[in-house]
């Protein structure tokens, strides 16, 4: 097993800076996700680790060894592609055994290893079929089996679930995570789906436009975003402008235009510069509580409702501020036009510099 480290990694395609000075450590045995919107450079990082792209600057190290100049086929990495990339002219057995040939594994050992790999992905006994005879989900499992059978130092997965339909995707992500956990291989997973990232990762690296925005556990990046981008990208967040009135070691006092004044715990204000006079207050939509009695809380009116069964998303206006609120509901959702009272617990708010 192995730890992967990127030091000041840069990739330029002509004038496009696909990756700008990435410094990332992928912990040994951990499942790390590169998360970000389309075009932010996730695939580029993965391909540089794999050796399919040459970095413009910076180093890639595995277990402290610089591997920039090691050719792909000597890196011992498992690669899983979005489109599976199973060799169409080879049987499933031949596909999985492909990497074993180059590792001096004997024929009989290879047969046993292939069988074992097929057991791991729960598709036993299909050695003699061809990829075209399998469903998308099955093909993806085979692709995974082919990558793990060589016992790679690192498993690299580029949006491996995005070609599957929604139900299968959720099933596969649980299974993929379970397999990774069982064999304990260091994994780098690329996705632009935040729920996938939150569900599967030990650590999430949020990226935007070639930059690393935040590195942390799913809980950290979700509940303690360090930038507005991260807050907005991971689930619906409200961002409200405010003025800093007073701050000391334990709390920060801010006033907002329509939500009154809030006393935030200092722990929620680590992203706020010491001299800042203005602050962006970030609050998740599920933390915005709507009270049917407008007297209890700041009076607001519901402008639109997005009903999703067990929960509903409300678009509300407080004075001149638009907010989103998400609530679990048992009965019918509140109607458009209803007057409500908005309650926000300052402990659920994060303050960031403007």
């Amino acid at each position: 097993m192995a730890q992967v480290e990127l030091r000041n990694l840069v990739k330029n395609y002509g004038v496009v800076n696909a990756v700008k000075h990435a410094n990332i450590v992928f912990q040994d045995g951990a499942f790390t996700t590169l998360l970000g919107p389309s075009g932010c450079g996730k695939t580029t990082i993965l391909r540089m680790i794999a050796g399919l792209e040459t970095p413009s600057a910076g180093d890639i190290c595995i277990n402290g060894q610089r591997i920039n100049d090691v050719p792909i086929h000597k890196r011992n990495l498992g690669l899983v592609f979005q489109n599976y990339a199973l060799f169409p002219h080879k049987t499933i057995g031949e596909n999985i055994a492909f990497g074993l040939k180059y590792r001096g594994v004997s024929k009989s050992d290879a047969v046993a290893k292939v069988k074992n790999a097929l057991d791991i992905v729960r598709l036993p006994g299909i050695e003699n079929r061809y990829p075209a005879q399998l469903s998308g989900g099955q093909q993806q499992r085979i692709a995974l089996a082919r990558a793990i059978v060589i016992e790679p130092d690192v498993l690299l997965l580029d949006e491996p679930l995005s070609a599957l339909d929604a139900n299968l995707r959720e099933e596969m992500r649980i299974e993929l995570k379970a397999i990774q956990h069982r064999i304990g291989v260091t994994s780098v997973f690329v996705t632009h789906d935040q729920s996938e990232a939150l569900a599967m990762s030990d650590k999430i690296i949020v990226m935007s436009a070639g930059n690393v925005e935040q590195i942390g556990t799913p809980d950290e990046v979700y509940n303690r975003p360090t930038s507005e981008f991260v807050a907005r990208f991971l689930g619906a967040s409200n961002v409200v402008g405010s003025r800093v009135e007073k701050r000391d070691e334990i709390s920060v006092h801010v006033t907002t235009q329509d939500l009154g004044s809030l006393l935030l715990p200092a722990a929620n204000c680590t992203g706020l510069g010491a001299q800042a006079t203005q602050a962006k207050i970030i609050v998740r939509s599920e933390k915005v509580i709507l009270n049917p009695d407008p007297a209890k809380g700041v009076p607001a009116v519901i402008k639109a409702v997005d009903y999703q069964g067990q929960l509903a998303r409300y678009f509300i206006t407080v004075g001149s501020t638009d907010l989103q609120a998400m609530a679990l509901i048992a009965q019918a959702p509140l109607q458009v036009g209803t007057q409500v009272g908005v309650c926000i617990d300052p402990a659920d708010c994060i303050a960031l510099s403007q």
């Binding site: 794999a50 050796g51 399919l52 050719p71 792909i72 086929h73 000597k74 890196r75 011992n76 990495l77 498992g78 690669l79 592609f81 489109n83 990339a85 060799f87 169409p88 002219h89 492909f98 990497g99 040939k101 180059y102 590792r103 061809y130 075209a132 082919r146 990558a147 060589i150």
Partner: protein, 261 residues
Amino acid sequence: MRVWYLLKFYTILVYGFMFAPILVVLLLAFNDAQFGGFPIQGVSLRWFYKLAENDAILRALKTSLVLGLCSMVIATTLGILAALALVRYSFKGKDIVTTFLISPILVPETVLAVGLLIFMRWLHMPRSFGLLVLGHSIIALPFVVLVVQARLTGIRTDYEEAARSLGAGPVQTFFSITFPLMLPAVFAGALFAFTLSFDNITATIFWRPSGMETVPTQIFGMLRNSVSPEINALGFVMICFTLGVPILAAGLARYFSKHKI
């Protein structure tokens, strides 16, 4: 409705015009008469026997076959390599190289023939079988490049990247992944190359050493004297050959694909 009948009639006419000459040759090959023509007077294989005894024709046939095979091997090998370079790598002057490789199709064959001849004269090289092979390879190369290039563009690089990541070196990747995947195109390209060489007459007349005949030049030579029914029989053989080989190949390809993928 009338329009449809007209269209049908017209289509039949076009195809008739295209295929009638071939049909005539095929039928007359079995005509017993000394001077070929309709109506057919008795069916016999006599001209085929005569053909089999004609040493000049047998020699020409052998020359054509060897020539075709040599040109096929050379054009296919070079064509595959060129297509790989053009599709999988980026380098300076790619467009120019592409145009250059395709140019034998664009240049009139006579011009190409004379050009190569002058070039060989300048090098003080006599006309030879080698020159024929070289020339035919040049004529066939663009077709191989175009066919293989088209196929290779359709093969996603994922496959090769997956193979590389699993431990296969560049050469191993080519032979275990890329080549098998582009085999149908290689097959088609090779057939093109062979047929082009086998059928070629214009350039061959310029390039062949004196005394050497290929099947087309042999037929051409025989026609100058008289229209012998033997030529019909030879025509029959050639048609069977140039049609039969691709049909057989397509059949084989279908058989393999049915039993593999």
